[in-house]
């Protein structure tokens, strides 16, 4: 465009003009990026805001003004009801028991197995590894009935054991640990070995402390996974006294007609049950973002 002019001055002007238009274009691009990002962010965040606000509304208010961001009147009735009419504290207690048992034991067992697969040389290691790979490929929902059959056969039905033990091992966790241990140089352990330290000692006091990032990853994934687990608890227990948060709240949502839609109550329960995972999420944000790219939510 500018090349048609003969003299130097118009040429420079043209170059300046095209530069400024490039700048402008980039600026428009940035503005566009921001507006798109903001719009999507609103779509992603707004539902959660609505949930929190509605938990403080009365039922007629929630039905009549679902969009309003100011509860009028603001009330904590829903929370009182959860405490008084529902066994909410029992659910919290059970979720805590199950999640903590599963998380800590999983971290321990996964790292043990991961270490054996990564470092120890023994006959059958390859076969064991292949089995774990194969097991990972079986979709969880397919296992609901089989697991129930086994839990019942072992006499663990309707106990904490039945709820916890089947969740204790996840093949993905073993994998993460194995891969991590393989990334640690062997030389670290050599000197300890020469000193005659036992294998468990090497694992416990030398390798494990170095594996903290991977352990934290498994801790987060296990905590989130077992806190949010539903199907396993449905098939492993029937007593209401063994209801976890997921099970209790799910049944709150699906059951009992004739008492209105009770959205403030249900949303209050949803909000409360999200808090522990949310805290964990915000604390370990960066680590979760990195870890989850690897072991995707089931």
């Amino acid at each position: 465009m500018s090349g048609s002019a003969a003299t130097a001055v118009p040429q420079r002007e043209a170059r300046l003009r095209s530069e400024s238009s490039a700048v402008r274009r980039r600026r428009i691009g940035t503005a566009l990026t921001y507006s798109v990002l903001l719009a999507i962010a609103v779509v992603y965040i707004f539902p959660f805001v609505i949930a929190v606000v509605t938990a403080f509304k009365t039922e007629p208010d929630a039905t009549a003004n679902p969009l309003s961001l100011v509860p009028s009147p603001a009330t904590t009735t829903a929370f009182h009801q959860l405490y008084k009419d529902q066994d909410f504290l029992v659910w919290v207690k059970n979720s805590a028991i199950v999640t903590l048992s599963v998380t800590f034991l999983r971290v321990f067992l996964d790292s043990l197995a991961g270490y054996a697969l990564a470092r120890l040389r023994f006959r059958g290691r390859g076969a064991a590894f292949a089995t774990i790979v194969a097991v990972m490929a079986v979709p969880g929902v397919v296992l609901l009935i089989p697991k129930f059959l086994m839990i019942r056969q072992l006499g663990m039905y309707d106990t904490y054991y039945g709820m916890i033990v089947p969740l204790l091992v996840d093949a993905a966790g073993v994998f993460i640990m194995k891969n991590f241990f393989e990334s640690i140089p062997v030389s670290v352990e050599e000197s300890a070995r020469i000193d005659g330290a036992s294998i468990f000692r090497i694992y416990w006091s030398i390798v494990l402390p170095m594996a903290r990032p991977a352990l934290v990853t498994i801790f987060i994934l296990s905590f989130q996974g077992s806190w949010n687990e539903l199907a396993q608890f449905i098939i492993s227990a029937q007593s209401t006294s063994l209801n976890t948060l997921t099970k209790g709240v799910a049944q709150l949502a699906s059951g009992q007609l004739g008492v209105g839609n009770r959205y403030p109550l249900k949303l209050a329960a949803s909000v409360l049950m999200t808090i522990p995972v949310a805290i964990l999420f915000f604390v370990f944000q960066r680590r979760i973002m990195n870890a989850s790219a690897g072991a995707v939510k089931e």
Binding site: D85, L100, R152, D158
Partner: protein, 412 residues
Amino acid sequence: MYPHRISRTARWRLALAAVTVGTLAVTAGVALGSPAATKATTITALIGSSGPAETYAVKNAASAWSKQTGIAVNVVVASDLGQQLAQGFASGNPPDIFYLGNDQVATYAKTGVLAPLDNLKNVKSFYPSLREAYTYKGHLYAAPKDFSTLALVINTASWKGAHLTAKSYPKTWQQLASVAKKLTRNGQVGLCTNPEFHRLGVFMLQSGGWLVSKNGKTATVNSKANIAAFNFVKSMIKNGSMKLTNQLGVGWGGEGFGKKMCAMTIEGNWIAGAMKADYPTVGWKAVELPSGPAGKGTLQYDGGWGLAQASKNKADAMALITYLTQTKVEMGNAKAFGVMPSVKADRKIWSKTYPQYAAFLAAADYSKSIPPVPNIATVLGDFNQQLQGLPNTDPKTILNRINSELQSILNQ
């Protein structure tokens, strides 16, 4: 490891995480440390409660019996009775006694998990029709505890608003259609009810149809009478004087009725409790359902106590069932949550105490229970599912489908 490298926010965040996990750990620890439930002989009773009133009444009666006999009773309120019962049986550790609907009795009697109750002390005191509803292959498998029937429930204010009087209570389908049309005004629809066999089935009976033939061996769901019944329902839906609750976006007829979305609904005795608790300002009256081409007809819902074959103290459990189906207890239940007693002798007292429920009791003379066919509950479940699409589907399609499903379980 390098504390100086951890920023203040990071430290704060870590502390927060530690506190969260710590709190949960303490909760869990306290819970695990608390003493486990005592394992002395207790009888477990699993109930599906309609609300706090029912729970309270059953618990009260059970504890009164405990005081008399010294045997502890643990009343468990199910959040999903059907599923919990099924899991209880499948796990080999069912509750001793439990609520059992008559649509479930044949299913479980066939699998052999129920203990027969032919030797119950007060077995002769129940209505014969109720005993029959719980009889499978000649044995009684549940002690009837109460029953309910369906009636037409009317919003009295809307009734007056449409210039209708006591004389205009519908006696025929035509009259029902015409009052429904008159009541469809001011944003209110004339009639609303659940899209379920358990409500719309009354039209099948009024039309002279039923699920199975007299001998119980052939499915008759797609009979001409039934097609006529659903065509009638559909004509009301089409002209806008009737809506199903899924069209209104409410959970059940009582909710639509209570929220004044409809002026009439088809419901059972239990609506009394819901109206009192949730919609105390709505005035209502129950009348008998209109007659169809084949006369009067309504559905009956039976509640009973079942006994598990696997129970370890059957004798005590049977004594408890006898106690719970006594006049005194049943009248208490009637008062607490509006059901009708299963004991014949109670009829007079009940109708005297609750004249306003006369329509429900009057219907007991001609009401019908779901036939005791194994697995019929699953077919009826599908019937209910299909009826949700009634406004957009030819009734014949639905009835043909359910007919073949029912026939195939009858053949088994």
